[in-house]
Structure formats: structure tokens, C-alpha cells
């Protein structure tokens, strides 16, 4: 197994790996995969954690190692902070899939380099009925990446992916 694996095949395989906290959404569409390097009998993948304390990071890394194992004798998956993961990294398809699962995709621009001391959060439109009559209930939700919002028209609560 010292042939050089095809990078396109590796990327296609990575699209099979999903975030266990957002089933069905691939780590490629979430923007977690930063880089793929291939060499003779070797694959190396760099992953960006969405949140530093996210317990899914290790599960994702293990799933990547397992999925890529058939491609090379040596598979490496490194979790890196070399650049911050931001919600801008979610692909258009990823945003669409979030909406389909009842999560409002992140709103607005990611937080810039010069952060305000006390920032504010934009509340997304309701993923159920599309209304903009929504308000934030809690900046913290069931996982680190989610906030809880409420729709004033269809009266349903919904989860919003935090802009970061």
C-alpha cells in the first residue's frame, strides 16, 4: 500500500463522516476539514474544531481515521488551531441541510478580529415558518454550537447555530 492515494477519493470518503451532534451533515460541509495531504502510502488530514470544548472532536477524529484506513498504511488526523473554525466555513449545501433539520443556519458575519467587549447576537429567521418575528431565548443550548430561539408567529422554539 505504498501507492499515493487520490486526494479526490479521500475528500469523497470524508464526506461520509458526519458530526455525531448533527447527524447527516458531513464534516466537509461543516468546514471542519482544513487540509488533506497525500503521499506514498500516507494520508494526513487537518481538522478544525468547531468549539474547543466540543466532545465530538475526538469522535470525529476517530471516525476519520477509521474511514480513511483502507486508503493508506499510515493515516494521520490532526486537530489544529492554526486558524479558527468560523461559521463562514459551512458550505451552502451545509446551510441548506441545517435548515432542513430544523436548525437555523448561523446569521451575519463571523466575529471579526476586533471583538466588541459586549457583543450582540442576531436572531435567525424561523426555520419552520420563515418568520422574522423571532427572539433569542438562550445563547446556550443543548450543545456548545447551538443557541435557543423562539418564533413569535408559529410559536415554535428552534435551535440556531451560533455565529462564531
Amino acid at each position: 500500500m505504498s501507492a499515493v492515494p487520490l486526494e479526490s477519493a479521500i475528500r469523497a470518503a470524508l464526506a461520509d463522516v458526519s458530526d455525531p451532534e448533527i447527524p447527516g451533515l458531513s464534516i466537509v460541509d461543516l468546514g471542519i476539514v482544513r487540509d488533506v495531504q497525500v503521499g506514498p502510502g500516507r494520508v494526513r488530514v487537518e481538522l478544525l474544531p468547531t468549539f474547543i470544548g466540543c466532545p465530538a472532536v475526538e469522535l470525529i477524529r476517530d471516525a476519520v481515521l477509521e474511514r480513511l484506513a483502507p486508503f493508506a498504511a499510515t493515516v494521520e488526523a490532526e486537530v489544529t488551531f492554526v486558524e479558527p473554525w468560523t461559521t463562514e466555513r459551512i458550505t451552502p449545501q451545509g446551510r441548506r441541510q441545517l435548515s432542513e433539520r430544523g436548525f437555523a443556519p448561523p446569521t451575519g458575519l463571523p466575529l471579526g478580529r476586533d471583538l466588541p467587549l459586549i457583543p450582540t447576537i442576531d436572531v435567525a429567521a424561523c426555520p419552520w415558518c420563515g418568520s422574522s418575528n423571532t427572539r433569542l431565548e438562550n445563547a446556550f443550548g443543548t450543545t456548545l454550537c447551538r443557541a435557543i430561539a423562539h418564533c413569535g408567529d408559529c410559536l415554535q422554539p428552534f435551535e440556531q447555530f451560533k455565529t462564531i
Binding site: P49, F51, E76, A77, P84, L115, A139, F140, L144
Partner: protein
């Protein structure tokens, strides 16, 4: 019945979760000062995270139960990232730094040495800690030690939500008046002497400044934070003690508070029962 999956012979290696850098290329004095800085950053986040986790299950409302559990998870994650950076410099095991030290070896600031107390106290302390930490993180954002600047860049984005949450709570308690405001003011008065303890001078601070690891001295950061606090509390009509909080007390303590001794007993319980346990 499904067939047993074929046993793979592939060798899978896992790279370390810490940014790679040449620790041996650092001068010993720089490495020592940096290790000390990383330990203070890690211990502050670690202890704040465990204090937050004490509200899991018993917060005054369900939303805050969720919020404080998330805050705790964030802070423990940040602590882990800082412990791992230190580990890359010193070769220590990160888990052992986190859980394997005696109670008097933790370097968290004095603000975090107080016990949990009531809800207003937790809000007041967390507000004082988060806003001070934000000032400190700005001074590390362009650190010449790139792995630290990278982690700080990520941490600051996450802390934004903490600041937003705590700012809302301080205003809510202050604007409510009555018992809520009385408790907030009492907590601030009790915590005031330690309000700037995040900025206690560091061993090797001059080296950190000279090497561009930290952009400004701690006493300059402390003065900036004091002005900000006076502005916020002045705007809310909250009287804070006229005395200037001390930031000179340092982080080394021979006698941690009874509150911290109890907390340490809790968070090290599993490690002391079975070192190296995983689950």
C-alpha cells in the same frame, strides 16, 4: 447475520492535539516564563469551569442550568488547550497537570478562590472574571508565540458569548432592584478586593514582554480593567468600594480557601481513586 468485519492491518497513528513547534528552540528563561503563563491561564479557566459546573442541576431556572453547563464545558475545553500547550513545553502529562497536583499547587487567581455562594455571587464573580480575562486575552492575541495566539484567537470568539450572557445578568439583577440588587451589591463588595487578581504579576513577566509573548504589563491591563469596571458600575448606579483592588497579591498561596479545598476534592476525586482512569 452480518459477517465479522475483516480485521484491518492498517497502522493508524494519531498526531498530538497541540500545534507543533520547536520547544527546544526557546531559551530556558523564556520557556519557564511561558510555562508559568500557560499554567495561570489554564488554572483560571479550569477552576472557573468547575465552579460553573456546580450549578448543573440546581441553577435557579432551567435555561441557566443549560447555560452554566455549557459555560463549564467551554472553560474546561479552554483549560485543556492551555494545559496541552504547557505539556508541549515541559513534557508533563496534561491530565496530570490538571488533576494530579496537591491542593496548594494550583495557580488560579484569588477571585476564583471564593466558594460558589449564591446566584448573585456567581454572576458577580463570573462577570469580574470574564471581563478581566477578555482584557488579558487581547494582550495575548498577537503573541509572538504563535501556538498561544492561535488558541487565544479561538478562545476569544467563544468567550464573546460568555461576556454577552454575564453582561445581561448583571444588568438584570441591577435593574430589578430589591433583593436581587442588594445581593449583587453585597457580592461585588465582598469580591472587590480580588477584582483585579487576574492581573497578579507573573514570574518572568519581564521576559514575556521582552519576547513579545505578552503585549503589555499586567499592571497596565489591571488599570484598564479598573476604568472599565468603574464605567459599567457607575452607569448602573452601583456603588463599589472606594478602595482600589490589589493585583499584587500573587497567585502562589500556601493556604487555599476552604471553598477551593472542597472544590479540589470534588474535581480530583476520580483521579485520586484511580489515576489514569478513562471513560
Amino acid at each position: 447475520m452480518t459477517a465479522e468485519p475483516t480485521r484491518r492491518t492498517t497502522r493508524v497513528t494519531v498526531a498530538h492535539d497541540v500545534p507543533s513547534f520547536d520547544a527546544a528552540g526557546l531559551a530556558p528563561a523564556t520557556r519557564d516564563a511561558l510555562s508559568e503563563l500557560l499554567l495561570t491561564l489554564a488554572d483560571d479557566e479550569f477552576v472557573q469551569g468547575f465552579l460553573d459546573s456546580e450549578w448543573t442541576g440546581i441553577a435557579p431556572m432551567l435555561e441557566e442550568d443549560v447555560a452554566f453547563s455549557s459555560l463549564a464545558q467551554d472553560e474546561i475545553g479552554h483549560a485543556r488547550a492551555f494545559y496541552e500547550l504547557r505539556s508541549a513545553l515541559t513534557g508533563e502529562d496534561p491530565d496530570k497537570i490538571a488533576f494530579g497536583r496537591p491542593v496548594d499547587a494550583y495557580r488560579h487567581c484569588r477571585l476564583l478562590d471564593h466558594p460558589r455562594t449564591d446566584w448573585a455571587f456567581s454572576i458577580a464573580r463570573r462577570y469580574l472574571y470574564d471581563t478581566a480575562d477578555a482584557v488579558r486575552l487581547v494582550a495575548l492575541a498577537d503573541s509572538s508565540f504563535r501556538p498561544l495566539a492561535e488558541v487565544v484567537g479561538k478562545v476569544r470568539r467563544e468567550e464573546t458569548y460568555h461576556l454577552m450572557h454575564l453582561d445581561a445578568w448583571v444588568r438584570r439583577l441591577a435593574d430589578r432592584g430589591g433583593e436581587a440588587r442588594d445581593r449583587l451589591e453585597a457580592a461585588l463588595a465582598a469580591l472587590w478586593p480580588d477584582a483585579l487578581s487576574v492581573f497578579a504579576p507573573l514570574n518572568g513577566e519581564a521576559t514575556l514582554i521582552r519576547e513579545g509573548i505578552l503585549s503589555e504589563p499586567m499592571e497596565v491591563l489591571a488599570a484598564r480593567q479598573l476604568e472599565r469596571l468603574k464605567g459599567v458600575f457607575g452607569g448602573l448606579g452601583i456603588q463599589v468600594p472606594g478602595t482600589t483592588p490589589e493585583s499584587s497579591g500573587g497567585r502562589t498561596r500556601t493556604a487555599p480557601s476552604a471553598g477551593f479545598q472542597w472544590l479540589w476534592g470534588e474535581f480530583t476525586a476520580v483521579h485520586r481513586l484511580e489515576a489514569g482512569a478513562t471513560w
